[in-house]
């Protein structure tokens, strides 16, 4: 195996063990708990009343604008991660030093313009 991956092995082992632990817990619950399903128990909970219509209706999801905004900003964060990590090295490097700060200002400026545009178009208005 590539030695670069060696530090991540414990994290993978933890993940696998925890999946096993959760499975054991649920299995124990299944063994210890009673199993007496009734008609009332197995209908969807709607504050005691009979469920009205199906829940998977088409509904207006106001949040899709938020999701689009999130995609843009998450990509921005993805670009900022390496920039924040390499910033010091870039400042020391003559080829990068002039753009290390100004480049990020320009990048953030463009993304902020996008945010302003979305705001003016009403993405933040929740009625």
């Amino acid at each position: 195996m590539d030695p670069n991956y060696a530090p991540y092995v414990p994290v993978v082992i933890v993940t696998i063990l925890v999946v096993g632990l959760a499975a054991v817990i649920l299995l124990l619950n299944r063994m210890l708990g009673p199993r007496r399903p009734t008609n009332i128990k197995s209908i969807a909970f709607e504050s005691g009343a009979d469920p009205v219509s199906k829940p998977r209706h088409r509904m207006s999801v106001k949040f899709y604008m938020t999701a689009i905004l999130f995609l843009v900003f998450d990509l921005e964060v993805v670009f900022i991660y390496p920039w924040a990590s390499r910033y010091r090295a870039w400042l020391a490097d003559d080829a990068f030093a002039p753009v290390a700060f100004g480049g990020m200002i320009l990048f953030v400026f463009i993304v902020t313009l996008g945010l302003l545009y979305e705001w003016k178009r009403g993405a933040m208005d929740w009625e």
Binding site: P7, V14, A22, A23, S42, P55, D74, I80, W119, W126
Partner: protein, 335 residues
């Protein structure tokens, strides 16, 4: 130099297993204690007694509750999306435990000291949201679906200021150190605060405040507990879950609270660094101090409205955190 628990014993496999067992035991004990603490503090704020019956000061109440939950019926309602419904509790539970194994509890005590520790913690945090939406969609319940929608919108929005505020610390750590310094490495961030002799909350107060607010929202805690607003949505995304399935969600929620407090401890409050007491003790003392403030806020402030929540994030926190990052970069360039 023993860098991790894994290197302390001769056999690496044994070291890994001891470390994993230690992390999992520590997390479980802390979460059980945390649930008790939340109930006691809320009782204290509301001038009640809280749990008193089981064990000294009711400390064993959570264990009693766990035993009760494990003997309850696992109800699977009709018309649920079976694969999603069954996987969701595990999917929410696993990432938080995995994330908890990444922290440096003392100077040389961590399960594995990763160079991208901070990134991984947030990556695991992001996975939990997928599990929450699986639960909400799979449950075939209107309350669950609405709660999950709100949880997703809220979590993805507040993830951005959360990460941006920590990145300004990363940038600062890199600028203050030498070429080998890595601000994403949680152990190095803590050591640097120990060596410099001050906590980063003093030089990055804006980032610390933004981080704390965003962390409250990420853990779905009041005043940002709109995804689980009991008065309107019953229990939000886990309405249809019973027994240990519910307990897994509950455990994940409290572990999450503990994890964001641990990140804050490492990034802003010096991690294990402190006089007299051993490092791990300081680490947990600081974490519990932050957790206590989170509980205090939950039982003091009323819930926000959803539009207030979203516009506060997009129009205040995100611009402010970007500005903070740029100012940090500017100062790092000038120094």
């Amino acid at each position: 130099m023993p860098d991790t628990v894994v290197n302390l014993v001769d056999s690496p496999a044994l070291g890994v297993l001891i470390g994993i067992a230690g992390v999992m035991a520590a997390l479980t004990v802390n979460v059980l204690f945390l649930v008790w603490l939340e109930r006691k503090v809320s009782a204290w704020i509301q001038r009640r007694m809280g749990p008193t019956e089981v064990g000294p000061f009711g400390m064993l109440q959570t264990i009693a509750d766990m035993l009760k939950l494990i003997s309850k019926q696992l109800i699977t309602p009709r018309h649920v999306d079976k694969p999603l419904y069954h996987i969701a509790p595990v999917f929410v539970f696993v990432p938080v435990v995995a994330a908890a194994s990444l922290f440096p509890f003392d100077e040389h005590v961590s399960l594995q000291n990763l160079d991208i520790g901070l990134v991984l913690v947030f990556a695991f945090g992001g996975l939990g949201i997928v599990g929450i939406f699986m639960a909400g969609w799979g449950s075939n319940n209107k309350y669950a679906l609405l709660g999950a929608m709100r949880a997703v919108a809220q979590n993805i929005s507040y993830e951005i200021p959360l990460i941006l505020s920590t990145l300004s610390v990363v940038l600062m750590v890199n600028a203050m150190g030498d070429a080998n310094t890595n601000g994403m490495n949680l152990a190095q961030v803590a050591s640097m605060q120990h060596d410099k002799g001050f906590w980063f909350v003093l030089v990055q107060p804006v980032a610390a405040v933004i981080y704390f607010i965003a962390a409250l929202a990420e853990t779905n805690r009041a005043p940002f507990d709109i995804p689980e607003a009991e008065s309107e949505l019953v229990a939000g995304f886990h309405t249809e879950y019973s027994g240990m399935r519910f307990a897994l969600f509950f455990f994940a929620e409290y572990s999450n609270m503990f994890i964001v407090a641990m990140v804050a401890t490492v990034l802003f409050f010096g991690g294990w660094s402190g006089p007299l007491l051993p490092g791990a003790m300081w680490f947990f003392l600081k974490t519990y101090a932050i957790v206590f403030v989170m509980i205090w806020i939950r039982w003091t402030f009323p819930r926000l409205r959803f539009d207030q929540l979203m516009s506060f994030c997009w129009l205040v926190l995100i611009p402010l955190s970007i500005l903070n990052l740029l100012v940090t970069a500017f100062i790092a360039r000038a120094v």
